[in-house]
């Protein structure tokens, strides 16, 4: 089991979700986060250009069994990249971490079946 954590652009959320649903990955957790990578954005307030030091992003967390890791990663890569498919600084990152266990609260099931 793996936990896939993707940090993506806010604007790409719809596309990423559509791609995941198409790949039959339907159990996800989404949160608003702020962070800092290579990207700089500019916002404008009363004519003054402001560069926020923390940029708003979307974090998606998906727990999957081994055979779904590549499917999930491909779906995110395909949909989160901007600038055609060329990609742009700020498109985000995907982290994959091993997942020790998973428990479904309703039934108490454990492991791969509970995902």
């Amino acid at each position: 089991m793996k936990l896939i954590t993707a940090i993506i652009r806010e604007a790409q959320l719809d596309k990423v979700r559509e791609a995941l649903i198409e790949a039959e990955i339907k159990r996800i957790t989404v949160s608003r986060v702020s962070g800092h990578g290579q990207q700089r954005i500019e916002e404008m307030y009363r004519g003054q250009i402001i560069v926020p030091d923390l940029i708003p992003k979307i974090k998606i967390e998906i727990a999957v069994n081994e055979e779904f890791v590549d499917i999930t990663v491909d779906a995110i890569l395909k949909s989160a990249r901007t600038n055609g498919t060329g990609g742009k600084v700020g498109d985000g990152k995907i982290f994959i971490t091993p997942l020790e266990d998973c428990i479904r609260i309703r039934t108490g099931e454990r492991g791969g079946n509970a995902i």
Binding site: A11, D14, R32, V33, S34, E42, M44, P56
Partner: protein, 443 residues
């Protein structure tokens, strides 16, 4: 005594005919009571525009909240400027081009009315600003039909052109003393405060624009949820308050008609709101806050053309009927699948049509007697219904055709619909470089 009563009747007739007879005259004295109320009304109608911004702003997604509020706010800028330059002249000048719109060189930049006082006893400046607020809110209403997917630049050009080519001529036909709908039939088409001019024209234009633009990305499968119902409720409340200026102010006086319109407004809003949540509770099991707000608006829209001629029971029935029919219209919209995002047509278009037609069944008898006298014998409800139908039909056809033409031509010059990237990123970020709710982020 007798001549006193005669005078009173004359004044009443003058008041009941709405804004006819407010024009011209040298040496009219300022009636400070009427002027004070008209100043208040002018401010109240302006308050409706930030109210509309809050109402619409809360209903869209977080990424579009500022862009949507700007649709209302920018109208305060664009239309105010246009109104002073040529809007007032086109609306309330003398017939030109066969009565298509009006023109009066004195009204160009308002340069010739510096010291004018109308027969109603108010400075013409007050009247022109009062009317100007109606011109502002009308195009802002259209924005509800095309929310979340329209280019800001194209929207600005659209409302400017729409205001000149659609609003001003309609306003002239219905409210100017030589407008053709003002003079049709025995006592003209009844549109006390803007059922045809404001709500039907905005609603129908919104429908045309929504269909032309097509749906938002992901509609209707993706859930498009309001970002903040609290500001929507606040906006609906401000609209209700402001509507007293809209309707009671349209008496252009401070007297009996004002009071009649005020009561009709309150009663229709209340009955509309109540009926909406009752229908919802029966149909869907829960009475929603948005349902209550929608009912308020449906009731207010329906009583807008009628406020000067109906008694309280009539206003109550009108408000409730509008709620019922608007509710049905929105159910039908969901089946038809066009994307009138915030129901500008479903509430303003449909509610306006309901109000303008059904009002004939509740006209107070004194109005009918005057109409009969003016017609030289008899004037029935059905005669007036025919007149109302002509006015409604004119507003629907004219605004639909002109809106289509304006958008079609404008779209050739600049893209009207947002690009997919702009729509996904949200109007706030794409067109304004800001975000509505900074506090939700760590910095």
């Amino acid at each position: 005594m007798k001549s006193g009563r005669k005078k009173l009747v004359l004044v009443l007739v003058l008041l009941l005919t709405g804004i006819s007879g407010v024009f011209a005259s040298d040496g009219a004295k300022i009636d400070s009571g009427a002027t004070a109320w008209m100043l208040t009304s002018t401010a109240l109608v302006l308050l409706m525009i930030p109210g509309l911004a809050l109402f619409y702003g809360g209903l869209v997604r977080t990424k579009n909240v500022l862009g949507t509020m700007m649709h209302s706010f920018v109208a305060m800028g664009i239309i105010s400027v246009l109104w002073v330059i040529l809007g007032y002249s086109m609306s309330f000048g003398h017939n030109v081009l066969g009565g298509w719109f009006g023109w009066n060189a004195d009204y160009f930049f308002l340069k010739g009315i510096d010291t004018n006082i109308l027969d109603a006893g108010i400075p013409e400046y007050v009247f022109t600003m009062f009317q100007g607020k109606f011109a502002i809110i009308t195009p802002a209403l259209i924005a509800g039909a095309i929310a979340e997917r329209v280019s800001f630049k194209a929207y600005c050009f659209f409302i400017a052109i729409w205001s000149v080519l659609v609003y001003n001529p309609l306003c002239h036909w219905v409210w100017a003393s030589d407008g053709f709908l003002f003079n049709i039939g025995a006592k003209g088409a009844i549109d006390f405060a803007g059922g045809t001019v404001v709500h039907i024209s905005a609603g129908v234009s919104g429908l045309v624009a929504a269909i032309y633009l097509g749906v938002r990305r992901g509609f209707p499968y993706q859930v498009i949820r309001p970002n903040n119902m609290v500001i929507t409720m606040l906006g609906a409340g401000l609209l209700w308050v402001g509507w007293f200026g809209f309707n009671a102010g349209s008496s252009i006086s401070s007297g009996l008609t004002t009071a009649q319109a005020l009561v009709a407004t309150q009663v229709a809003a209340a009955s509309g709101a109540l009926l909406w949540i009752i229908i919802e509770a029966l149909h869907q099991g829960k009475a929603t806050a948005l349902g209550f707000a929608s009912g308020i608006l449906a009731g207010l829209v329906a009583v807008t053309p009628a406020a000067g001629v109906v008694q309280p029971y009539g206003a109550m029935v009108l408000g409730a009927s509008a709620s019922f029919i608007c509710y049905m219209a929105i159910q039908l919209k969901n089946k038809l699948g066009y994307d009138d995002s915030l129901d500008a047509f479903g509430i303003h278009g449909v509610g306006g049509i309901v109000g303008a037609l059904l009002l004939v069944f509740f006209i107070r008898p004194s109005w009918m007697q005057q109409a009969a006298a003016a017609a030289g014998g008899s004037w029935t409800v059905w005669n007036q219904l025919g007149i109302q139908a002509v006015a409604v039909g004119t507003a629907i056809v004219y605004s639909a055709v002109m809106t289509f033409l304006i958008i079609y031509l404008l779209d050739k010059v600049m893209r009207f619909k947002s690009t997919e990237e702009d729509e996904m990123a949200g109007l706030d970020r794409s067109y304004h470089g800001e975000r509505g709710y900074g506090m939700l982020n760590a910095n």
